[in-house]
Amino acid sequence: MGKASVIPFGPQHPVLPEPLHLDLVVEDETVIEAIPQIGFVHRGLEKLVETRDFNQFIYVAERICGICAFGHSLGYAETVEQLMQVEVPKRAEYLRVIWHEMSRIHSHLLWMGLAADAFGFESLFMHCWRLRERVLDLFEATTGGRVILSVVKVGGVARDITDDMFRKIQDTLNGIKGEYGQICKTFLNDYSVKNRTVGVGVIDEEAARSQCMVGPFARASNVNNDIRIFGNGAYGELDGFEPILDTQGDCYARVKVRALEVLQSIEIVNELIGKIPAGEVAVEMKGAPADGAEAASVLEQPRGECYYYARGNGTKYLERMRMRTPTSQNIAGMTTALAGCDLADVNMIVLTIDPCISCTER
């Protein structure tokens, strides 16, 4: 046993564009302990709710994070609608879920690209991002934005999608399945990828539960905590939604869960497009949240469960808006997975929780 020393990892690190800092206590090549530190990109967005009215704040909420932008605007809108007891038209609920699942596809493809980049597989990275561009093109055609969509509003959605566009969405998503299948095969069968992922950063089910892990990170350890099974919004209209689980709890399982979730999301989009009812896409919002009214909601973001809480004060400004983001839940699990790993595996483990530090710090 050598002497323990501390190696700083981040907040600027080539493997991770997110400003996460870890103090890695290492002995020889083994990490004994990882001490995380965040707070480099805190912007005080929750405080901003006091000076932006509830309609304006949706544009702030979706800027919390660039990848789950749509999810945050959706979660915020659902919470405020609950607060004001507004029923959203059915068509709007379907459209929201369609866009949300498309965001999941783009988020997972982005993550898979980053993971490939982290273990040095550049061409795989390029292929993942090439397919992701197709989804972004669909966003651009349906909402006018590629990343920040500004399409959800409190009371519904700002834009409808035409039947022609629905066909185009289906064609594009079904069209990428073939190439995506090839990419998945590389991720799941290639020995050079498996060398980096199988058996690395294992977290068993018990640890996953005790650390309150969420999202694909937890589902890879066989924790069934997919919020979509609650059937909020149009998720309730799906014929039998089954979360994707894995029992291994290592980096390979996390890659696998995300890889399969992309295909699952394509199926969800296809199913909802087949069922979407006609009608209005938004209701008029009148008045303001009542004084002391409280509402909370949960949403399955690409990275896991995100919890939203809002309190009104009788004016059009909210008293409090709080979000508990998936990454803040997963940091504990990440440090557990890091303890005892090889120094060379740190980047793989950090990446497989799919950290989103800008969400966490808001």
Partner: protein
Amino acid sequence: MGSFNLGKMTLGSMFKKPETIQYPAQTRFVPVGLKGHVAIDMQVCILCGICMKRCTTSAITVDKPARIWEIDRFRCVQCGYCIAECPKDCLFMEPSYAPAATAKSIEVFEKPAEELDEAAEEAQAAKEAEKAARVKAALEAKAAREAQKAKDDPAEAPKTARA
């Protein structure tokens, strides 16, 4: 083998149309409703200032007395809230992006002066027509009253008629 598959795919893409384009020689297809920048039709704008109140980033300033509508393109985030809220529907989203610049600036739009004259003239004409109608109605009423009076008192009648 996974990488063999991927190798095939990568080799295949050498013979496909490139995914990227030669910007700026080539430009991308612009989808309908692309959020580029906010534009305004000053002919229609009534300078009510609702867009200024609603703007999430305080990018818009409306000065009614000076008849100007200003936008700070560096603050605007293309959320489209002002466009949804404008009562005259004179704001819209243009697909081209605001050009890059080396210094921050504010774009000023002035409500055209001839529009003022025309509008004012119209308003004036409407007011005058209304006034004339009122006077006419009053005169008619007066005449009717006089006629009634004349019936009651025939001696007064010629005088009224002359007047």
